[in-house]
Symmetry: C3
Subunit: 160 residues, 3 copies
């Protein structure tokens, strides 16, 4: 155990901007501390990984509906509180810019540069009809078993 | 420590279908890995354990109101996102059936078969006016002290 | 490791009464078990720490707006479910009183008496325009690095 890196594992279940920002700030902080960090994206959390323009893929009508109703990518997520039909996220983005905080797309990029493992949950991708082509590059794909393997070794486990 | 089972402990606070499904998928996965798994149901999470038809018990009016307003059992929970007055849960159940995923009642049954310990928080049961007769059979009843005892030993602790 | 206290670390991200109560009940329980407990308040969770009357501080207009829109202190938080424009919280407070459960302000006081470390996230304070004068006395101020330092040592880590 002595020269093994400590592990931090986050399940990002929620699809809101504020929660995704919290997840990535913790992940990037832990990576800076030289932890081996994994974020496992499931359910609405997958929306943070979507590319921001539609990708031509074959889908059934229900999958198309899900795809159309869910926010397309990190820049389009709403807030868990005070969303006010999209005004809240703009206010938050405004103050983040003012304080020179990284945006969510920048936090995701930084995480990838720091080697944070971003894993999309294949089971919920199937349910929501999301395909690999629709998600960012450099993502890994796995199921709950892989998550549990990482989590059982990790010092810090969070469900966000 | 060598021949002791690893422990996973989940607090299910939320009363939504999607979060309950996530909790049970993780719990069943961990149990399949031979972890000793406990789900501690508190606040709205207790609704996943309610029997689906009313049980004749004596209650004050406030407790009756809570009982009537909260969803009665695993099959009646709403979604945390895109609930659309109940259409969202039907859509999710539809795609889950299509992909042959287990329903929440089936996930609960599987958890009980695998020996996952389902513990109802007695303090919040009192607050919400829920009585043991109204919850599924095979549930244990305990307070926060019991949860903390399990959690302090567990490798994976999640609050959902 | 033998005579070191066990640690429990909670991130309180959510600003709802029910979630804050859950966080403090777990924290107080763990402190009673002689754990070293830290609650790290970030985003909407900071509202639980606000003083209940306005504090005269200099702010920009956006910070003033955030300050006006967010609930001022532990006694004014809403519920995550069945809020019904403020009726839900009153119902919950009513049943808590009836069952002689501690109110959230009392739970916070008890936590401080038991030595639970309450830490406000300085980064989100800046974003939401909250200043130290506006928060309860006896709070510590730190960033995500301090949280991660505590979390990496803790047996129980929760994100609420």
């Amino acid at each position: 155990m002595t020269d093994k890196k400590e592990k931090t594992t986050i399940v990002l279940f929620s699809g809101e901007l504020d929660k995704a920002i919290a997840a990535f700030i913790i992940a990037n902080g832990a990576a800076a501390y030289d932890h081996e960090v994994t974020i496992f994206f499931t359910f609405w959390g997958l929306n943070a990984l979507r590319k921001d323009s539609p990708v031509p893929v074959k889908k059934g009508w229900l999958e198309k509906m899900f795809g159309a109703m869910m926010p397309r990518g990190a820049d389009r997520l709403g807030l868990s509180k005070m969303n006010f039909g999209g005004i809240g996220p703009r206010m938050i983005k405004h103050v983040m810019k003012k304080h020179r905080a990284l945006t969510l797309p920048q936090l995701i990029e930084l995480a990838q540069e720091q080697g944070v493992k971003l894993v999309a949950c294949t089971m919920t991708m199937e349910l929501l009809g999301l395909q690999e082509e629709e998600l960012l590059d450099g993502i890994e794909y796995a199921g709950v078993a892989a998550y549990l393997g990482d989590a059982a070794d990790a010092k810090v486990n969070l469900f966000i």
